[in-house]
């Protein structure tokens, strides 16, 4: 059994994307991947901290990295934002000795130290590259035959270049969908930004961005979308009705976490995967497979 330190992030632990956490743990278990949650981890600070207080934001990440290092396991996170933030700190601590010195001093105030030995991985990377597409195919109990799925990568999974996939035309979820028996839908907006947390402060402009993504997926034939990011899922799913109101559209596209779709193909139960937490109902699109 492969073991990793698990960093769920706030959303996927008990926040709005808790179903992502449930389904991530369930499919990992099915694939022989053990995710050991880091004890007492703290929020990565996400974009807001790195935008306003840069040294504190590096320290927030460094505490998590130090906690994982004690256990000697690499970190896996299902959240694209946590993935970028933790990786950025990891890279910058190596690149900037003066930053490293300051972060070391701050960590020491909390009785911690970090030596830079932990790798930070996204769950998608671990599942498709460490476990592999063949092993995933082998777990499929209900092939997603005929299901047209738009793989929406969002931005931070593949950018900047910490990535395991192409920054503008990624393929890993396309191949994942195929290995579940489904049909990946190619669409131009697959790695464009959903607007992220600016949905809160600049809703109007972010609704436009979401609308473009939904339109791109739908007009290329998708009946549902999958995503590897809590924020992308929330924006595309929970704000879909507001997009419809603003842009006079009538989107009803279910948006699932990629782990939920894997779970459906693996024959896991609807409850286990938290499918009912999706705002746009998934029933119609997935009826054949449940």
């Amino acid at each position: 059994m492969k073991q990793y330190s698990y960093f769920p992030g706030c959303s996927s632990s008990d926040g709005g994307a808790k179903a992502y956490g449930w389904s991530a743990l369930a499919v990992s278990r099915a694939l022989g991947v053990e995710l050991v949650e880091i004890e007492d981890w703290n929020c990565c600070g996400s974009t807001p901290y790195s935008s306003v207080e840069e040294l504190s934001s590096f320290c927030l990440s460094a505490r998590n990295l130090a906690l994982a290092e004690k256990k000697g396991l690499d970190i896996v996170t299902p959240c694209s934002s946590c993935y970028v933030i933790l990786n950025r700190t990891n890279a910058y601590l190596k690149q900037y000795p003066h930053l490293r010195a300051q972060v070391d001093e701050a960590l020491a105030a909390g009785g911690l130290e970090y030596h830079g030995t932990v790798k930070v991985r996204h769950l998608l990377d671990v599942l498709v590259n460490d476990v592999g597409y063949d092993a995933i195919s082998a777990q499929v109990k209900r092939s997603l035959d005929g299901l047209k799925v738009a793989p929406y990568y969002g931005c931070q999974l593949v950018r900047p270049r910490f990535g395991f996939d192409h920054p503008e035309n990624p393929q890993s979820m396309d191949r994942l969908i195929s290995s579940l028996g489904g049909e990946p839908v190619d669409f131009p907006m697959k790695a464009r930004c959903c607007g992220g947390s600016l949905i809160i402060s600049e809703e109007a402009l972010v609704l436009d961005l979401i609308g473009k993504i939904l339109n791109s997926a739908l007009s290329n034939g998708a009946v549902c979308i999958i995503t590897p990011c809590p924020l992308c899922q929330t924006n595309l799913d929970a704000y879909q009705s507001r997009v419809n109101r603003k842009l006079h559209t009538s989107f009803r596209l279910p948006v699932l976490f990629f782990t939920q779709l894997m779970g459906v193909a693996f024959g896991l139960s609807e409850d286990e995967l938290g499918l009912k937490t999706c705002i746009v109902a998934t029933g119609e699109a997935l009826a054949k497979y449940l």
């Binding site: 808790k18 320290c59 910058y92 009785g111 900047p160 503008e168 402009l205």
Partner: protein
Amino acid sequence: MAYKTNSDSLVDEISAIPGGEGVRLCIQCGTCTASCPNADKMDHTPSELIAMARAGMKKEVLSSNAMWYCLSCYLCTVRCPRGIKQTDLMHALECLSVREGLSHGRTLTPAMYRSFNDFVYSLGSLPEVGFMTWYYMLTNPLRAIKMLPVALKLLRHGRLKIKARRLTAEGTRQLRAILDKAELMGGAS
């Protein structure tokens, strides 16, 4: 021969922040601006902002709304032919803008970021409900009412939790000690 122009201090300050040093490398090709999903909302485009910083227009640069419209999608960063980490450079400008008290920016994003950070500092985690409520209270309580339908849908689907995840008492103390130390050293990292 080294000589100082009036632009040096701002460029030096930006360069001192990790990721900001690229400000010296820009060739004004405009690739970042062409790639940015929000460039049309900005009072100055990303490439313009760099040119202004190098011209020493400190007040204009730091009071711009441009960096607050940055979505951190990193498209500019992966496309820049000079390898500038343009997204991190935008973050550096945001940090400096806050430090100089110029972050009014004609956008609510700085206030949203501050509400987020206050919660993370006090709790070590982010309770989404508390954070959103706090932010709307600080900025525009009326919008909270407009957001009720979205909130109710999330609640009905079991996605809103009022009580925040807490770190252990020891974890909270440790995190606080680290962040307080960071704040003491703060400023130029």
